[in-house]
Symmetry: D2
Subunit: 89 residues, 4 copies
């Protein structure tokens, strides 16, 4: 099941984030903290990509093959929106 | 025609980029140059989003409603790939 | 103390991330999960910026005003590196 | 002189961008156009990083070693700002 994989990755990110919190508590060198936050960012991007892939291969196929044109438009618009946002964060 | 809109935006970006080249030639303050480059980045992201939107509403619909399963997989994989890359640039 | 502010933000992000994990466990709609992950990304970027600001106003000033040229080069190189990476994640 | 290097890179990007404009004029496959735009983004990020590096090793050192505290604050604030923006574009 794909959710399992997503969950496992998110829990790894959670552990990573807790490590960063400890680093700040222990006054670790700023640049090292920033680098770890950037690593978390990269890991989250991978999770998003994986979720999008699952979404395309399930909901999107169903919506596009379906007869409800509005639903089709909605689903495609959402993909455009998350793509646009991904360029910004 | 949608290409017209994309072309117009890209030509605006081209003018913007030429302006940045002039700024560097005239030894403009570094930070101002960086800010203009970031503005170009943002404009290019908008162009990409617009192209993706057109693509979803044409090729992707056709591929997903078509009978060629491999083609469908290919088209969806491409979207995942440009999404993943958009998180990196 | 600035660490307090950074810590508070990071703990907020941790709570947000735990919320996303719950969303995945409860099979929330994919796009909504992606949007929340993008919100976490944006929050982490703010934390990084804040940490960098503190760093510039402490370690970087000390290093540049100091007499150790190698240390100065090291500190400036690190800033270039995290800037470069920030364009990628 | 470092400007030469920056200029050369920017002119390469200009050529690349003109190529993308031609691709759109010739109705090239959308995804290929998006990939080329993402490559331009990545090239621009490298130019920005190079400009920042020069800036840190000239203006920033001068400002921080100088006696004008306001100027020092201004220069450091600018770096924070372009870093923050780099996370968004």
């Amino acid at each position: 099941m794909d959710n399992e994989n997503t969950l496992r990755r998110l829990k790894t990110v959670e552990g990573h984030l807790r490590g960063v919190i400890r680093m700040v508590e222990e006054d670790t060198y700023c640049i090292d903290v920033i680098r770890q936050i950037q690593a978390i960012d990269a890991a989250l991007n991978k999770v998003s990509t994986q979720i999008l892939e699952n979404h395309l291969n399930s909901c999107v196929i169903t919506a596009i093959q379906g007869t409800d044109k509005k639903e089709r438009q909605r689903v495609l618009k959402e993909i455009t929106e998350v793509f646009e946002m991904s360029n910004k964060v």
